[in-house]
C-alpha cells in the first residue's frame, strides 16, 4: 500500500516508547505512565488508520503488506500484512492496551520504587509490540519469533509484579508455552522443506495450499502446530497453566494475556492448521471438536466450583475458547465468522471482568469470593458494570457475545448437530457461574466496615476504563456488521483453501453477514 509502512510503525512506536521509559532518570519515573499511555494511544491511532486503509472488498487477502529479505538462507523474510481477522485482533489489542495501562495506573502504589514503575510500564509497551507483531506477521518464521518472544515480557510481568505465588505461576506459564513452542519449532522447520522453499519459502502466500508431503507428514506437521496452539488457547487438557497465570498476575496483565495473547492460539489454528494442512485438519476434526466441547463444559464447571474470582474468570475463558475452537473446526463460514468475532468479543468481555474484579480486589484486598457479599450496596456502579460484563460473557442477547456464540452454534449445527447440542449446555452453565458469582459478591446485606474504611465506588479513572468496554458490548451486540464484514472474507478464503463448502442450507447462509439480527 502507498505511503507509510503502518504495520512496521505499529511495531516500532511502542518499542521506542518502552526504550524512552527505560531511559528516564529515576527522579522523573512519574512520567512513565503518561508516556506509556500516550504511546499506546498513538499506536491505537495507527491501528485505526490501518483499519481505514484496509479494503475488505479487495480480492487481496493480505493487505498493508511489507516484504523485505531477512534471512534468505533460511527462506525467512521480514514480511508483514494483515487479513481481516488479523487486523481486527490488532485493533482490539491496540484498544485494550491503553485501557489496561489506565487500569494499572495505581497498581504499584503511590510510592513505588521508580525502577519498578518504569519496568512495569515499559514491559507493557514491549508486549504491545509483540502482540501486534504476532498478528501482523506474514511469514511463519517471523510469526514464530513473535510467538516465542512475547513470552518474555509476560513472564516478567507475572514474575515481577504478580501475586504471592507469582514465581510458580511465571515458571509454569513459560514452561507450558515453551514446550508447545518448541514442538512447533520442529514443525516450522519441517514445514519449510515441505513447501516450495526458496528465499521466501516461509511466506504465508507461498505455503497456503502448497504444503506437500505424504498424508502422514502433513498430519505430524498439523499436530506440531496444533499442540502449541492448544496450549496457548488453552484447551483441555493443557489448560492448567492459565488459572495460575491469570490469578497471580495483575488484572491488566491478565487481560492482555487472556484477552489478546491467548487468541494467538485460535488465530493460529484458523490460519496455520486450516490454511496449511487442510486434509490433516479434516482428519483431526472429530478429536478437536471433542476436546473443544470438553473445554466448554469442563471450563464452565470449574468456574462454578472456583472460590477465587480471578481463577473463575480464567476458567470461563477456557470455556469460551472451547466455543471458538469449535467454531473454527466446524468449517462452515457461519461458524468461522462467528469464531473470529468471538475472539474480539471475548477479549472485551474478559477485559471487563478482569479489570472490574481487579478494582474490587484493590478495595478489599482479597481474591476469595467468600470474603465478599452485599457490595452492591457499597459500590453500586462497580456492581452494575460487573453485571453487564458478566451478562455479556454469558451471551445475553443484545450484548456482543450473543452474536458470536449464536453464529458459532448455528454454524456448527449445520454440520455437527450433536456437538452443537452438547455445547449449548455451556451456555446454561455460563448463566450459573456469572449469576452465582454476582449473587455471592454483590447481593446480600450491606457489609460492615470501619467508619473511615468504607470502600469508594468507581472513581473517574476507573469509569474511563470501563466505559469503552461497556460501549463495545453494546456496539458489537447491536451492530456487529463492520467487524463481520472485516473477518468474513478471510474466513471464506481459508475455507476455500480447505476445500469445504457449507452444507446444503436448510436456511439462508447469509446469517453470517449478521446485519439481519
Amino acid at each position: 500500500m502507498s505511503g507509510l509502512p503502518l504495520l512496521t510503525l505499529m511495531l516500532v512506536v511502542p518499542l521506542v516508547g518502552a526504550a524512552v521509559i527505560w531511559l528516564l532518570p529515576n527522579a522523573s519515573s512519574r512520567l512513565s505512565k503518561p508516556i506509556a499511555l500516550g504511546v499506546s494511544l498513538l499506536t491505537l491511532a495507527l491501528a485505526l488508520l490501518a483499519w481505514a486503509r484496509f479494503d475488505s472488498g479487495s480480492s487481496d487477502r493480505y493487505q498493508l503488506t511489507e516484504t523485505h529479505s531477512w534471512i534468505p538462507q533460511f527462506g525467512v523474510s521480514y514480511a508483514l500484512g494483515v487479513d481481516g481477522i488479523a487486523l481486527s485482533l490488532i485493533v482490539m489489542a491496540a484498544i485494550l492496551t491503553p485501557i489496561c495501562l489506565l487500569a494499572a495506573w495505581n497498581d504499584l502504589g503511590e510510592d513505588a520504587d521508580p525502577k519498578r514503575e518504569k519496568t512495569y510500564f515499559a514491559l507493557m509497551l514491549v508486549l504491545l509490540t509483540f502482540m501486534v507483531g504476532v498478528f501482523a506477521a506474514r511469514d511463519v518464521f517471523l510469526f514464530y519469533v513473535f510467538f516465542e518472544a512475547m513470552l518474555i515480557p509476560v513472564y516478567f510481568l507475572i514474575g515481577l509484579f504478580g501475586g504471592p505465588r507469582r514465581q510458580y505461576a511465571a515458571v509454569k506459564f513459560i514452561l507450558f508455552s515453551l514446550v508447545g513452542g518448541l514442538i512447533m519449532l520442529v514443525a516450522v522447520i519441517a514445514l519449510y522443506f515441505q513447501g516450495p522453499g526458496g528465499e521466501q519459502g516461509f511466506l504465508y502466500e507461498a505455503l497456503e495450499g502448497a504444503v506437500g508431503g505424504s498424508t502422514a507428514t502433513q498430519r505430524w506437521l498439523f499436530l506440531g502446530f496444533f499442540i502449541a496452539f492448544a496450549i496457548k488457547a488453552p484447551m483441555w487438557p493443557v489448560h492448567t497453566w492459565l488459572p495460575d497465570a491469570a490469578s497471580e498476575s495483575r488484572p491488566a496483565t491478565a487481560v492482555l494475556l487472556v484477552g489478546v495473547l491467548d487468541k494467538v492460539g485460535t488465530f493460529g489454528m484458523l490460519r496455520f492448521c486450516l490454511g496449511f494442512f487442510p486434509e490433516a485438519s479434516k482428519w483431526a476434526t472429530p478429536v478437536v471438536l471433542t476436546l473443544a466441547v470438553i473445554s466448554v463444559i469442563y471450563g464452565a464447571l470449574l468456574a462454578i466450583g472456583s472460590r477465587d474470582i480471578m481463577r473463575l474468570i480464567a476458567f470461563t475463558s477456557i470455556s469460551h475458547f472451547g466455543f471458538i475452537v469449535m467454531g473454527i473446526f466446524a468449517m462452515t463460514t457461519t461458524a468461522g465468522g462467528g469464531s473470529a468475532l468471538y475472539m474480539i468479543n471475548h477479549g472485551f468481555s474478559t477485559a471487563g471482568l478482569f479489570l472490574l474484579a481487579g478494582f474490587l480486589i484493590s478495595r478489599h484486598g482479597s481474591q476469595r469470593i467468600a470474603d465478599y457479599g452485599g457490595w452492591q450496596r457499597v459500590t453500586p456502579v462497580l456492581a452494575g458494570t460487573f453485571l453487564v460484563s458478566g451478562l455479556s460473557s454469558l451471551a445475553l442477547p443484545g450484548l456482543s457475545s450473543y452474536v458470536s456464540e449464536f453464529l458459532v452454534l448455528a454454524g456448527t449445527f449445520q454440520r455437527y448437530k450433536w456437538v452443537a447440542a452438547i455445547a449449548t449446555i455451556g451456555i446454561v452453565l455460563a448463566a450459573l457461574y456469572i449469576l452465582l458469582t454476582y449473587q455471592r459478591v454483590f447481593t446480600g446485606p450491606r457489609p460492615e466496615f470501619a467508619a473511615d474504611r468504607t470502600p469508594r465506588d468507581l472513581g473517574v479513572r476507573e469509569k474511563v476504563v470501563v466505559a469503552p468496554i461497556i460501549a463495545s458490548f453494546l456496539l458489537l451486540g447491536f451492530f456487529p456488521k463492520p467487524v463481520l464484514d472485516l473477518v468474513n472474507p478471510a474466513v471464506e478464503q481459508t475455507l476455500k483453501i480447505v476445500g469445504v463448502t457449507d452444507p446444503a442450507p436448510s436456511h439462508p447462509t447469509n446469517v453470517a453477514t449478521g446485519s439481519d439480527k
Partner: protein, 524 residues
C-alpha cells in the same frame, strides 16, 4: 600389507608448504615461543603487561593475516596434512576471536598486580607457607598466556588437520596446555588441582583411544591421510574390512571426549568448575569449536563413505548427550557446573547438525559454534565478576537478587541465558534453527527424532535458565556480601562483544550465515 607399503615414499622429501596458508598458525606459535622467552628474561613486574600485550597483538595479527592473506590460499598443504579450506578458515577465524576474548578476560586484574584468575605459584602446595610467600613476593603465573597461545596453536591446527597423525599432534598440543591451565586457579586450589588431574587422566585415556583408532584406520587404508582413507572406503575390496569400523569408532570416541558428549562427558563438570573461570570460558568455547571442527572433517572428508555403519551409534550418543546434559543441569547448585552440563547439552544439539551429512549441516554447525562460543565466553566472564568475600560466588543461592543490585551485569547474563535457552532474536535460536533444519531435511527419520529430542531437551534446559533468571530477578537477596566487581576495560570489551554478538547473530544473522554457507565445502 605390501599394498600399503608401496604407497609410502621411498625416501623422505621436503614437503611443500604454502606459507601464506599456514601463516596465521605460525604467528601464534611464534608468539607462544617468544612468550616463553619473556617468562625467562623479562622482569617479574612487567611480565603481565608484556605477555598480555604480546598475546593480543599476535592474535590480532594472526586474524588479520587470515582474513587478508590466507583466504586466497585455500589449499591442501604440508604434504597433505593440513587442509586450509573454507571450513578450516571460518573455524580458525572464529577461534582467533574467541582467543582474543579469552585472553582479555584472563588478563583481568581488578586493580591487583597480576591476573586475578591465576595462582601466584602453581607448584606450591595449596595453603602452604610457600604459596603465601610467593604471593607476597609478587609471583605470578604469567606463563598462562604462552600456554594459552600454544593451546590456540593446537586448535588452529586441529580444525585444519587432514591427516590422523597431524590431528593427533594437534590434539595433544591443544590439550596439554589446557590441563596445566585448569590447575592454576587462584582460589579453591585443591578443587582446581583435582580438576586438572581428572582432566589430564581422562584426556590421556581418550588420546589413547584416538591413537589406537588411528592405527586401525592406517591398517585399513594404508595411510593416515583422510582423503586416502576415503578413497580406500570407496574402493573397498574387503581385505581389511574388519579394521574400519573399530577404527572409526575409536577415533570418534577420542574426539567426542573433547566435545564432552555423553558417555565421555564426566570430566566436563569437574574441569569447568575447577579451572580458573576465564579459562573455563575460553576452554568451553574454543575446545568445543576445535573438536567439532575435527569431527566435521573426519566425518565429512574421511569416513563419510562408511557412515551408514556408525551414524546410528553417533545419533544415539547425540540423543543421550542432549538428554543427560539437560536433565543433569536441573540438579546443579553450582553455576559453573550448571553451565558445564548445559555445554554438554549443547554438544548434543551440535551433533544433531553434524549428522545431517549435508553442506547445510556444516554451515549450521559452524554457525552454532560461533554463536555458542561468544555467549559462553561472556557468560563465564560474568561469573568471574560475582564475588562473595573475595572468592567467586558460584553457588546458585548466592545469585539471588543479583538483578536488583547489579542490573546491568544481571541483565547481560539474563540475555546470555535466553540465548542458551534458544529464545528467538538471540543467537541461540538462530543457531538451533541452523543446526536442526539440515537434520530434518537431510537426516531422515533419525534426524527428525533427534530434533524432537533436541527441542524437548531445550525445554528442560530452558527451565534451568529461567529458574536462574527467577533467582536473579524475582528473589530477595539473601546475603549482602555478594557483589559484582567492576570489570576492567579488557573484561568489559569481552563481555560486550559476547553480548553484542549474541544479539546481532540473533537479529541479523544473514551475513554470518551467508559467510558460513559460502565456505562450508571441504576440500576433498
Amino acid at each position: 600389507m605390501t599394498a600399503a607399503l608401496t604407497t609410502l615414499p621411498t625416501a623422505f622429501e621436503a614437503v611443500k608448504v604454502d606459507y601464506s596458508a599456514v601463516a596465521p598458525m605460525l604467528v601464534v606459535v611464534a608468539a607462544a615461543l617468544i612468550g616463553v622467552l619473556v617468562e625467562a628474561f623479562a622482569p617479574r613486574t612487567q611480565r603481565h603487561a608484556i605477555q598480555v600485550g604480546l598475546a593480543l597483538v599476535a592474535l590480532v595479527a594472526s586474524f588479520a593475516v587470515l582474513v587478508l592473506v590466507s583466504v586466497d590460499h585455500r589449499t591442501v598443504t604440508v604434504g597433505g596434512s593440513l587442509a586450509i579450506d573454507g571450513p578450516a578458515l571460518f573455524l580458525q577465524g572464529t577461534l582467533l576471536i574467541f582467543a582474543i576474548l579469552g585472553v582479555l578476560t584472563m588478563s583481568e586484574r581488578f586493580g591487583g598486580r597480576s591476573a586475578d584468575a591465576f595462582t601466584p605459584m602453581g607448584a606450591a602446595t595449596p595453603g602452604s607457607p610457600a604459596e603465601s610467600a610467593a604471593d607476597r613476593a609478587g609471583f605470578a603465573t604469567s606463563e598462562a598466556f604462552p600456554l594459552t597461545m600454544f593451546a590456540v596453536f593446537g586448535m588452529l591446527m586441529f580444525v585444519a588437520a587432514n591427516d590422523l597423525i597431524t590431528m593427533f599432534v594437534a590434539l595433544e598440543v591443544l590439550s596439554l596446555p589446557l590441563y596445566v591451565l585448569t590447575g592454576l586457579a587462584r582460589r579453591r586450589r585443591l578443587l582446581s588441582q583435582e580438576a586438572s588431574l581428572k582432566y589430564f587422566l581422562l584426556g590421556a585415556f581418550s588420546s589413547a583411544f584416538f591413537l589406537f583408532g588411528a592405527a586401525l584406520l592406517y591398517g585399513y587404508a594404508g595411510s593416515s591421510d583422510l582423503v586416502r582413507i576415503a578413497q580406500a572406503i570407496s574402493t573397498a575390496d574387503g581385505a581389511y574390512e574388519g579394521l574400519l569400523l573399530p577404527g572409526v569408532v575409536l577415533v570418534l570416541i577420542g574426539l567426542l571426549f573433547k566435545v564432552g558428549a555423553v558417555p565421555f562427558h564426566s570430566w566436563t563438570p569437574d574441569a569447568y568448575q575447577g579451572a580458573p573461570t576465564p579459562v573455563t570460558g575460553f576452554m568451553a568455547a574454543a575446545t568445543k569449536l576445535a573438536a567439532f571442527g575435527a569431527i566435521l572433517r573426519l566425518a565429512y572428508v574421511g569416513v563419510e563413505g562408511s557412515r551408514l555403519e556408525w551414524r546410528l551409534g553417533v545419533a544415539a550418543i547425540a540423543v543421550l548427550t542432549m538428554v543427560v546434559g539437560a536433565v543433569l543441569s536441573v540438579t546443579q547448585t553450582d553455576i559453573k557446573r550448571l553451565l558445564a552440563y548445559s555445554s554438554i547439552a549443547h554438544a548434543g544439539f551440535i551433533l544433531v547438525g553434524v549428522l545431517a551429512f549435508d553442506v547445510t549441516g556444516v554451515t549450521g554447525v559452524m554457525f552454532y559454534l560461533a554463536a555458542y562460543g561468544l555467549a559462553t565466553i561472556a557468560a563465564f566472564a560474568i561469573v568471574f565478576l560475582v564475588r562473595s568475600g573475595g572468592s567467586e560466588a558460584t553457588h546458585l543461592s548466592q545469585w539471588a537478587g543479583l538483578g536488583r543490585k547489579h542490573p546491568v551485569i544481571a541483565g547481560i547474563f539474563a540475555l546470555l541465558l535466553l540465548a542458551f535457552a534458544g529464545i528467538p532474536l538471540t543467537s541461540g535460536f538462530t543457531a538451533k534453527f541452523a543446526a536442526f533444519a539440515p537434520a530434518i531435511s537431510h537426516g531422515g527419520l533419525a534426524g527428525i527424532i533427534m530434533v524432537v529430542v533436541g527441542v524437548l531437551a531445550s525445554a528442560v534446559t530452558a527451565f534451568v535458565y529461567f529458574r536462574l533468571i527467577v533467582l536473579m530477578y524475582f528473589t530477595e537477596p539473601t546475603g549482602d556480601d555478594v557483589v559484582a566487581l567492576t570489570p576492567s576495560i579488557a573484561s568489559t570489551i569481552a563481555i560486550t562483544v559476547g553480548a553484542l554478538g549474541t544479539v546481532i547473530l540473533g537479529v541479523i544473522p544473514g551475513p554470518i550465515l551467508d559467510l558460513a554457507g559460502r565456505v562450508s565445502q571441504f576440500i576433498q
